[in-house]
């Protein structure tokens, strides 16, 4: 039986009641009507490979995610919040996932989930904003105007096609900021509509489609406006037509919207979503919160992989998930953990050679109580750019040589 996808508990009829799902034109023309963009984006070429980047913000505690239950040092450092082996989903003799990560455990056992241990960079920053900015720009400890995804888009698509990059968010991420592309950024597809009365349709389109601004700020605004104009109807239609039996879990941070666009054959090559607002910043009484965060995250990611397979695109989609840093090895006195350094990253999908990559950082040879990283995060980016998307010169995007990992 077909089930309707829903956002945050609203059933489909509530969406329609909200007025944005259908065309209502009364005799007086005073209904509300979504406006049709003038020229749809060029229809998708032969569907190709897609990269989905998932940002887990706040500094996820890697040691309580990929738990090294085989290492005594872990329990010594975490007498209160260390997770006992019988409470874990064991991956092998040494590591286990939290009990709530059933979806990701299944992906690992099916060989579709790669764990990269000890991911970080030199002179790590303990600031959320700085470290996340370094991950988003692939420029650690440097200022950099554009994001790595933005630069990847510019390199792979010099003409700057519409909707090449999609960022599901209320604000554009630095990661997708680009010189030549206007990333399509939206959050709620049902609200991605320029509402107005029938008579306003034509002038509203005119006002949105104009060319040149008197200054940079105006130029920027016009670019965004044009992007909205051409994407508006496409996004709404994609969402309205989308049906899935898959349950995306209790916290839907965007992958169901990505799936809707993939189902609608959007030309997008890179999607960027985030579990936002430093949700993973577990300084205090971590156990319950962290377990819940991973229930939601594991459910959501596993659902997406399942849904993509249902759409017949399993071989085309790879997802990577990361956090801006891990946390300290020793628990703090509030049964939480403080900002740390290296942590695990995940690469997930049918095309992935699952397993574990990278050298496991030592829990005892620490630097001021923190893990020493063993894999530079830009190697994961190189893996995505070259190994997956097939662009042969990742060093121009990453401003340095980083060997891809043999994950895809």
């Amino acid at each position: 039986m077909a089930r309707f996808s829903s956002i945050g508990g609203l059933a489909r009829r509530d969406l329609l009641r909200a007025g944005f799902g259908s065309v209502i034109l009364g005799a007086t023309g005073l209904g509300r009507s979504p406006f049709f963009s003038q020229a749809a984006a060029a229809p998708a070429a032969k569907p190709g490979r897609i990269l989905v980047v998932v940002e887990l913000s706040g500094g996820n505690d890697g040691l309580n995610t990929v738990v090294p239950y085989g290492d005594d040092a872990y329990y010594k450092a975490r007498p209160k919040i260390g997770i006992r082996p019988d409470k874990l989903r064991k991956l092998d003799d040494h590591f286990g996932f939290q009990n709530t990560m059933s979806g990701m455990e299944r992906l690992y056992k099916d060989g579709h989930l790669a764990i990269v241990h000890g991911v970080g960079y030199d002179q790590p920053s303990f600031s959320h904003f700085a470290s996340m900015a370094y991950w988003q720009t692939a420029a650690p400890n440097r200022g950099e105007l554009y994001g790595w995804v933005g630069r990847m888009a510019d390199a792979m698509d010099p003409e700057g096609h519409n909707n090449y990059v999609v960022n599901i968010d209320t604000q554009q991420s630095l990661a997708v900021r680009s010189r030549g592309h206007v990333p399509l950024v939206f959050d709620d597809p049902t609200k991605f509509v320029r509402s107005g009365f029938a008579d306003e349709a034509s002038p509203l389109k005119l006002l949105a489609a104009r060319g040149h601004g008197a200054n940079e700020a105006q130029e920027f605004m016009y670019g965004v406006s044009r992007s909205a104009l051409q994407a508006e109807q496409l996004v709404r239609d994609a969402w309205a037509q989308y049906r899935t039996p898959v349950d995306y879990g209790l916290v839907r941070f965007g992958l169901e919207r990505v799936a809707a666009l993939i189902a609608a054959d959007f030309p997008t090559k890179i999607y960027y979503v985030a579990y936002r607002n430093n949700a993973f910043d577990t300084h205090v009484y971590q156990a319950d919160v962290h377990a819940r965060l991973w229930t939601y995250t594991s459910d959501h990611i596993a659902a997406f992989v399942k849904d993509v397979a249902r759409l017949g695109r399993a071989d085309d989609v790879v997802l990577m998930a990361f956090s801006e840093f891990g946390r300290r090895v020793q628990e703090n006195t509030s049964q939480g953990t403080d900002h740390g350094t290296a942590g695990p990253a995940f690469v997930i999908g049918a095309p992935v050679k699952g397993g574990q990559y990278g050298k496991v950082p030592s829990l005892t040879e620490l630097k001021q109580g923190n893990l020493v990283y063993t894999t530079d995060y830009r190697r994961i980016y190189a893996t995505a750019i070259q190994g997956w998307m097939g662009y042969e010169d990742p060093s121009s995007i990453l401003r340095g040589e980083f060997d891809p990992l043999p994950i895809v």
């Binding site: 306003e200 965004v224 909205a228 430093n278 300084h283």
Partner: protein
Amino acid sequence: MDNKSFVRGYQNVLRSPSGPARWADDLTPITVSDWSYDFAAHLIERAGFGGTPEEIARLAAMTPERAVAYLVDYKSVPNDHLEPFDASGVWDPGLRDFPLSRVAATRRAERTGEALGVQVKPEGERRLQPVVDRFFYWLRATLLETRRLANWWADRMVATAHPLEEKMALFWHGHFATGEEKVRDYRKMEQQLALLHRQATGNFRELLIEVARGPAMLVYLDAGQNVKGAPNENFAREVMELFTMGVGHYSEADIREAARAFTGWIDDDLAFKVDPAKHDDAPKTFLGRTGNFDGVDILRIILEQKVTAEYISAKLYRYFVREDISPAMQARLGAALRDNDYEIAPLLRTIFLSRDFYSEPSFGTRIKGPIELVVSTYRKLGARHLPGIPDLYVVSRELGQILLNPPTVAGWAQGRAWITPGQLLARGNFARDVLFPDILNFTDPNFNPGAEIRRVNDRILAGMDIREATIERGPGEGGMEGGDMTMANVIAGAEDFNTRYGSLVGFQEAVRKIKPIPRAAAQFDLSLAVVSAGAKTAADAVDHLTIRLLRVPVDAEVRSALIAFLEKQLGTGDLDRAASYSERPLRLTAHLIMSTPEFQLC
């Protein structure tokens, strides 16, 4: 200067002439011969939330010094028409030291027989239910009261005679960001908000020290977890990284030492306290100085650093003037702030009188943040108060800026970060909701507990017992792991209490107590406004609306399209002939204007 004359003079006024480009970075004060309606409009837009043509004309009639003084030295301007916040009275002393989680609350109740000022039942079913009900009551009550507080503040922004006070309070709120979602106590937010108003254009040193010791910030940055022998660095880090110096001007060692100095800082309900048992009073070395520093000493040392005054001045500059600040300007403003002993008002006066402020790069290049957009829209339309429809919280959420709930301690990213394709559409839709509020379909979001609790409510009302009423049927076959859903039901319906039922009961009790937000639409009259300004034709009306609403001119093509649209709606180009029905067509035209990219700029 009579604004009627501007309706005729389209060519002059709608070019919004700024000062020349070479005025950039020049802090020399402008002179009275430079002063104009456009300069006054620019000033009131930046130093406040914009104004009606009448308000702008009044400023334009003063000298620039008097106009700036009128805005900066606002304490001499009467503001008694504003009401203090009318609390609902949802707190009582039993809610002191509210536990961090429902689990902590029920654990405390199991151990001691009571929690949150409520006792465990001696016998019977669900003995801990009263505690759970109370827990959810407070979560909902403080959340709703905070929304009322946000409404009160936004209404103040619309109605105040001290716009700079509110604009600065908003700036400080984004700077010293705290969110009720974590603080979980509207009283602490209210207390901090009062402080931000008191010191809005006051002294940064005093403001910093009081904010750091304020309960809202102490809770938000886990200060209470920072104890001797186990310092929690969150507070120290954010104070230095975000509130004073910025990354790169201190080391990790400085953070650790500063954290030691802040140990023992706790909130004693609404008061600041240092717990001597938890305070590390041994010597610390911080930014090259050594001593038995406590937290205030650390703040004073930070304020002695050159970078602090520059960091704050630069942030103020970017907020009021433009994004790009030259290193020379930053150094000069920093020095000015330091020389004035961290008094804010003199710095603002310098900025608002400077040629740089009125130079070409400073005109029409700033993207309004959502709250500014909302408030300036109401002010420019002539509304005296914040309407209840559309709902401020719903609007804030869609536009991406919720008062008293910033996304993180870094506050809100400014400028271009406000604008995405989705955001641009949302802003146009907000304008439509202001001009054509959909009262028929309005439902109060504060009465919406979410689908799950609604279901429980429906079942209880239908006579089901609590256990049956609170079992969630999951997506079932084909959905996610059935096991996990069942676990959630087990937890929710645990023997000694039922959390879903507690959620419902708590919610109901909270909405019973909370004073309702009045749901009136904004009252304004566009036809009166354009006719009072002397408009006789549709073209006049379009020109007047454009002057009224925009700080950036529209080109001739757009102007023609707007005039053609209005004439078509009126059925004539003669405004007098259409006088009896022109309000709706004028509002449609205003919606078009407010949907333009230009409307987002000031």
